[in-house]
C-alpha cells in the first residue's frame, strides 16, 4: 500500500475514522452535538471523492475508486448528511440521544462506500453486509418503540437469509471461476454459464439475494413492515442509500458479464411483478409509510426494467434513477420525519390540511410525491423517461407498456396523499410538528435536486455515461 493509495481511499478512511471519532466523542459530549461532526465527516468524504482522480483497482485493498464509485460515494455521503440533519431534531423529539446513532449512520455510509468502490466480490459482499447490518441497528434504534424492534428483527432475519443466499451464490461463482476479482469472476461466470450450470446457479442465488435488498417481488414483503416500524429519518436513508447500494451491487455484477440471456427471464418477471404488486398494493394503503414502501417496491421494479436491457443506456438510466430516487425518497420520508412529533404521523388522514397548516413541509412532500409519480417538470419524469427510453431501445416494448400502465395506476395513490394535503379543508387544529431550520435546509437542497434533475438532467447524465463507459 502506498501513500497514493491512501489518498485515493481517503473518503473511506475519513468515514471510518469519523464514525470512530463520533463514538469516542460520545463519551464526553452529548450525542446531540455530534451531528455536526458526522455531517462534516460526510461532506468531507464527499468533497474528497469529488476532487480525487479516479483510479483503477487497488489490488491489495480490494477497492478501486472508479468514476462510478466516486459518483455514488458522493451521492451516499450527501444522503447520509441529509439523513443526519433530518434526524437531528427528530431524535430529540423521540429521545434518541446516544452517540451511537450518528456513528451507525456513518458505519452504514462506510458500507455503502466500500460497496461502491469494491473491486472484489469479498469487498462487495462485506460492504453490502456492513451497510445492512448498520441498518438492522438503526431500524431498531428507537428504544421506546415496540414496532422498531419488531421491524429490526424482521429485517434482520430476512436480511440474514439473503446474506446466506448471496454468500452461497458468490461461493458457487468462486468455485466455478476461481477468482474473487469482480470483472474476471463475473465475465468468467458468464462464459461458463453455457456449459457449467454452477455459475448460473450462483447467479440465481445472487439474484434472489439482490431481489431482497432491492425489495423486488416476491422478496419484498419485509419492506412495508420495516418502513413502518423504523424511525422516518432512518427509513429515508434505508430506502435510498441501501436501495441505491443494492442497485449498484447488481450493476457492478451485471456489467462485466454483458447480458446473460438466461437471466433475462427472472429479471423480466421481477420487474413486472414489482411494478404491478407495488403499485397495486399501495392503492388503498392507509399508512403513508407503508404506502411509500410499496411505492419503493414499484420504483425498484422500474429500475430493474432498465437493468434487464443489459445495455449502457439501461445501466445509465438505472444509475440516474437511483440518484434521483435518493433525492425523492429523502424528501418524502424527510417530510414525514419533520412532521412527526412524539409519534409518527402515520395514516394519510392525519395529513389533512397540512398543505396550509405546514406549507413548507407539505409542499416539499407534494413535490416528492409528484416526482415519484413521474410528473414533469420534476426529475421523476426525467428518470422514468430515461428508463422507458432505455427499455424500448433495449427491445422491451411489452414490459414498457405494462410498466407504463402500472405507472398510471400509481398516480392514484400519490395523488391521494396530495389530496389529503391540499384538497381537504382543515377542521381540527393541526398538531403536526413545525419544521426546524435544521430540517429545512436538507429538504430544500434535496427538493432543488429533484427540480434541477427535471429541468436540466444533462450534466448528471453525462457524468453517469462517462462513468459507465
Amino acid at each position: 500500500m502506498t501513500v497514493a493509495d491512501l489518498w485515493t481511499i481517503m473518503p473511506l478512511l475519513l468515514i471510518a475514522c469519523g464514525s470512530v471519532l463520533v463514538l469516542l466523542l460520545g463519551a464526553v459530549v452529548p450525542g446531540r452535538y455530534l451531528t455536526g461532526v458526522a455531517v462534516a465527516t460526510c461532506l468531507g468524504a464527499a468533497l474528497w471523492a469529488l476532487q480525487v482522480p479516479a483510479v483503477a483497482a487497488l489490488p491489495q485493498l480490494g477497492v478501486a475508486l472508479t468514476p462510478l464509485a466516486r459518483l455514488f460515494t458522493v451521492v451516499f455521503a450527501l444522503a447520509a448528511s441529509v439523513t443526519l440533519l433530518l434526524s437531528h431534531d427528530f431524535n430529540e423529539r423521540r429521545g434518541i440521544r446516544g452517540e451511537e446513532y450518528p456513528a451507525t449512520i456513518l458505519f452504514a455510509l462506510f458500507g455503502m462506500s466500500v460497496l461502491a468502490a469494491a473491486s472484489t466480490l469479498l469487498t462487495l459482499f462485506l460492504g453490502l453486509e456492513a451497510l445492512t447490518f448498520a441498518f438492522y441497528i438503526l431500524v431498531a434504534m428507537d428504544k421506546g418503540s415496540d414496532r422498531g424492534a419488531e421491524a429490526g428483527l424482521k429485517y434482520l432475519l430476512l436480511g440474514a437469509i439473503s446474506a446466506a443466499f448471496i454468500a452461497f451464490g458468490i461461493a458457487l461463482i468462486y468455485a466455478a471461476t476461481g477468482t474473487l476479482e469482480i470483472v474476471p469472476a463475473m465475465a468468467g461466470a458468464a462464459r461458463g454459464i453455457a456449459g457449467v450450470p454452477l455459475a448460473l446457479a450462483g447467479w440465481g442465488l445472487i439474484l434472489a439475494g439482490a431481489a431482497f435488498k432491492m425489495s423486488l417481488v416476491p422478496a419484498h414483503l419485509w419492506t412495508p413492515d420495516v418502513y413502518q416500524g423504523g424511525p422516518p429519518p432512518v427509513v429515508a436513508f434505508l430506502s435510498t442509500g441501501s436501495k441505491g447500494a443494492a442497485v449498484l451491487f447488481l450493476i457492478t455484477l451485471l456489467r462485466p458479464a454483458g447480458l446473460i440471456p438466461a437471466l433475462h427471464g427472472p429479471l423480466w418477471w421481477l420487474a413486472l411483478l414489482s411494478m404491478t404488486v407495488g403499485n397495486l398494493a399501495a392503492l388503498r394503503q392507509q399508512s403513508i409509510k407503508r404506502l411509500l414502501a410499496y411505492s419503493s417496491i414499484a420504483q425498484m421494479g422500474y429500475v430493474t426494467l432498465a437493468l434487464l436491457t443489459g445495455s449502457r443506456e439501461g445501466y445509465g438510466a438505472a444509475a440516474f434513477y437511483v440518484v434521483l430516487y435518493t433525492a425523492m425518497n429523502l424528501v418524502a420520508f424527510g417530510a414525514v420525519a419533520s412532521l412527526s412529533g412524539r409519534d409518527d404521523l402515520e395514516t394519510i388522514e392525519e395529513y389533512r390540511g397540512l398543505g396550509y397548516g405546514r406549507p413548507f413541509t407539505a409542499g416539499v412532500l407534494a413535490l416528492a410525491l409528484f416526482a415519484l409519480a413521474g410528473i414533469p417538470p420534476t426529475g421523476g419524469f426525467m428518470g422514468k423517461f430515461f428508463i422507458f427510453a432505455a427499455a424500448l431501445r433495449g427491445g422491451e416494448p411489452l414490459l414498457a407498456v405494462l410498466g407504463i400502465l402500472t405507472a398510471v395506476v400509481s398516480v392514484y395513490f400519490y395523488l391521494r396523499v396530495v389530496v389529503n394535503l391540499y384538497l381537504h379543508s382543515v377542521t381540527a387544529e393541526i398538531t403536526a410538528n413545525r419544521p426546524t431550520s435544521v430540517e429545512i435546509v436538507p429538504l430544500v437542497v434535496a427538493s432543488l435536486v429533484i427540480m434541477l434533475l427535471g429541468i436540466y438532467p444533462g450534466p448528471l447524465m453525462a457524468i453517469i455515461e462517462a462513468a459507465l463507459f
Binding site: I404, L405, V408, Y456
Partner: protein
C-alpha cells in the same frame, strides 16, 4: 428576431406566478398582480396577432413558421428546446391569453379562500398551455402537456364543488393514462427515426416523414390518438369531462372547456396526423364514426341533464365532436373549420360556464329546475345567456356556426354520411339549449331566488366575449386567412 418572444410568451406567466409569492397574504394585491400578468400576456399575444401578417418566415424554421426558437437542451438524447409559431399556434396562444384573463375576471369575487394560490395556479396553467401550443419538440411538448394537469388538478380539487376530489383525481388519472402511453409512442418514433439515420432527435420537423413500418406506425398513432382523444374528448373517452367540468370552480370550467380540450385537438393537428399520415388514414373511419357518435350522443345526453354545468359540459362533448370530425377528414376546408371551431367553442362555452358560474354565485344552485324567470330579474345576464346559448346552438351570424359549417362543408366530400348525421347534431343542441333557456330565463320563477343583475366587471367581460362571438360570426375572414398557410402545409394543398 432579436427578442425571444416565444420564450417570453411561455414563461412570462410562470415568472408572474413566482413573483406572486410575496403577495401571499395580500389577496387584493395578488389578484391585481396576476391580472396584470395576464393582461401583459394578452397584449403581447394580441400584438403578434396584428403583427403576424407582416412577418416573414423565420430563419432556420420549417415552412409556415414565422417565429422560431431552437436551442439544444439535452443534447445526449437529441432533446431540444424548440418553440415555433405559425397561424394555428398563434391563434391558440391568443385564445389562451384571452381565456385565462377571462377566467381570472370571472372568479374575481367567487374565490374567497386561498386567493393568491388560485391566481398562481391560473398563471402556471397559462404557461403550460401556451407551452403546449408553441412547443415543436416532442419531448418539450410532452413536458408542457403534463405540466398543465397539475394546476388544473388543484383548481378542481381545492376550489371545486360537489364531488370535487373524485373529479379532480379522475381528471388527472384519466388524462395521465392516455398521455403516458403517448410518451412511449414518442420514444418509439424517436428511436425508429434514430435507428434509420443515426440522427436521434425529438424535433417534430425532422421526425415528420420518418418511414415507419405500417403495423408499428398504427400502434404508435393509436397511442397518440388515445392521449389526444381523451383530451378532446372523443366518445367514449369523455366521461371524465362532465365530472371535471361540473365540479370545477368557474375559472376551472372556463379553462377546461376553453383551453384544455383544445390541446387535444391541437395535438392531433400538429403531431398526430403529420407524424403518422398512413396510420391516420387507416384510422380515419373509426375516428369519423366516433366523432359523429360524440356529436349526437353528447347533445342527446345533454338534454337529460338537471345541472346546468353538466348540461354545458355534455354540450362540449357534442361540439368537440365537430372538431374531431373536422380533423378526421383532414381536408383543408374542414381543418380550417376545426381550428376555428376550437376558438369558437372556447369563446362560447367559456362564456356559458362563466354565466352559469355567475348564477351559481348568486343563488348557490345550478339546478335548472330551481330557476325560472331570470329574464325579468336580471335582463342583462339573461340577454347574454340567450346570446351564448344561441351561439352554442349554432345560430348563423354567431361564431359557432362558422366553424361547424366549414367542417361540415369540408367533410362532405370525404364522408357524406357522417355529415348527414352531423347535421342532425346541429338540431340536437338546439333542443337542449332552448329547453335550458326556457327553464332558466323564461316562465315564472320556481323558487324565490334573488338574482341581482350583472356588475360592471361581469358585464364588460361578457360584452367583450359577445363582441368576439359576433365578430367571429360575421367576419371570420382574418382568422381564416391566418390559418390558410399552415392548413395548406398540413394538408398538402396549394393555399
Amino acid at each position: 428576431m432579436a427578442y425571444p418572444i416565444l420564450t417570453i410568451l411561455v414563461f412570462l406567466p410562470l415568472a408572474g406566478a413566482f413573483a406572486l409569492l410575496p403577495f401571499w397574504r395580500r389577496d387584493r394585491w395578488a389578484k391585481g398582480f396576476a391580472l396584470c400578468c395576464a393582461l401583459v400576456e394578452l397584449a403581447l399575444a394580441g400584438w403578434l396577432l396584428f403583427a403576424a401578417s407582416g412577418m416573414q418566415a423565420a430563419q432556420g424554421a420549417p415552412a409556415g413558421y414565422f417565429l422560431w426558437e431552437d436551442y439544444t437542451w439535452i443534447g445526449r438524447f437529441g432533446i431540444s428546446y424548440t418553440l415555433g409559431m405559425d397561424g394555428i399556434s398563434l391563434l391558440m396562444t391568443v385564445l389562451t391569453a384571452f381565456v385565462t384573463l377571462l377566467a381570472m375576471l370571472v372568479s374575481w369575487r367567487g374565490i374567497r379562500e386561498r386567493v393568491p394560490l388560485h391566481y398562481l395556479m391560473l398563471l402556471v396553467m397559462e404557461s403550460g398551455i401556451v407551452g403546449v401550443f408553441l412547443a415543436l419538440d416532442l419531448f418539450l411538448f410532452y413536458l408542457f402537456w403534463e405540466v398543465m394537469l397539475i394546476p388544473m388538478f388543484f383548481l378542481i380539487g381545492i376550489w371545486g364543488h360537489g364531488r370535487r376530489i373524485y373529479s379532480a383525481v379522475k381528471f388527472f388519472i384519466y388524462t395521465m393514462a392516455g398521455s403516458l402511453l403517448m410518451l412511449l409512442a414518442i420514444i418509439g418514433i424517436y428511436l425508429l427515426h434514430g435507428n434509420q439515420g443515426g440522427n436521434y432527435t425529438f424535433a417534430l420537423h425532422q421526425l415528420i416523414g420518418t418511414g415507419i413500418d405500417p403495423g408499428i406506425s398504427l400502434w404508435l398513432f393509436a397511442a397518440f390518438l388515445l392521449a389526444f382523444a381523451i383530451k378532446v374528448p372523443v366518445f367514449p373517452l369523455h366521461t371524465w369531462l362532465p365530472d371535471a367540468h361540473t365540479d370545477a370552480p368557474t375559472a376551472g370550467s372556463v379553462i377546461l372547456a376553453g383551453l384544455l380540450l383544445k390541446t387535444g385537438a391541437y395535438g392531433l393537428i400538429r403531431f398526430g396526423y403529420p407524424l403518422f399520415p398512413t396510420a391516420a388514414k387507416a384510422v380515419t373511419p373509426l375516428l369519423i364514426t366516433l366523432a359523429v357518435i360524440g356529436i349526437v350522443y353528447g347533445s342527446w345526453v345533454a338534454y337529460a341533464q338537471e345541472d346546468m354545468k353538466r348540461l354545458v359540459a355534455y354540450s362540449s362533448v357534442g361540439h368537440m365532436g365537430f372538431v374531431a370530425l373536422g380533423i378526421a377528414v383532414w381536408s383543408p376546408v374542414a381543418l380550417s373549420g376545426a381550428v376555428l371551431q376550437m376558438v369558437n367553442h372556447g369563446i362560447t362555452t367559456g362564456a356559458l360556464f362563466a354565466l352559469v358560474g355567475m348564477l351559481d354565485e348568486r343563488t348557490d344552485t345550478r339546478e335548472i329546475a330551481a330557476y325560472g324567470g331570470v329574464w325579468g330579474k336580471a335582463p342583462m345576464l339573461a340577454f347574454f345567456f340567450l346570446l351564448f346559448s344561441m351561439a352554442s346552438a349554432g345560430l348563423p351570424g354567431l361564431n359557432n356556426f362558422v366553424g361547424e359549417f366549414l367542417i361540415l362543408a369540408g367533410a362532405f366530400r370525404v364522408t357524406p354520411l357522417a355529415v348527414v348525421i352531423g347535421f342532425i347534431g346541429i338540431v340536437l343542441p338546439l333542443i337542449y339549449t332552448v329547453r335550458l333557456v326556457q327553464q332558466v330565463l323564461f316562465v315564472e320563477e320556481r323558487r324565490p331566488l334573488a338574482i341581482p343583475d350583472l356588475t360592471i366587471r361581469e358585464g364588460s367581460v361578457l360584452a367583450a366575449l359577445a363582441l368576439i362571438a359576433i365578430y367571429l360570426g360575421v367576419h371570420p375572414a382574418p382568422l381564416l386567412d391566418l390559418l390558410k398557410v399552415p392548413v395548406a402545409l398540413l394538408t398538402g394543398v396549394a393555399p
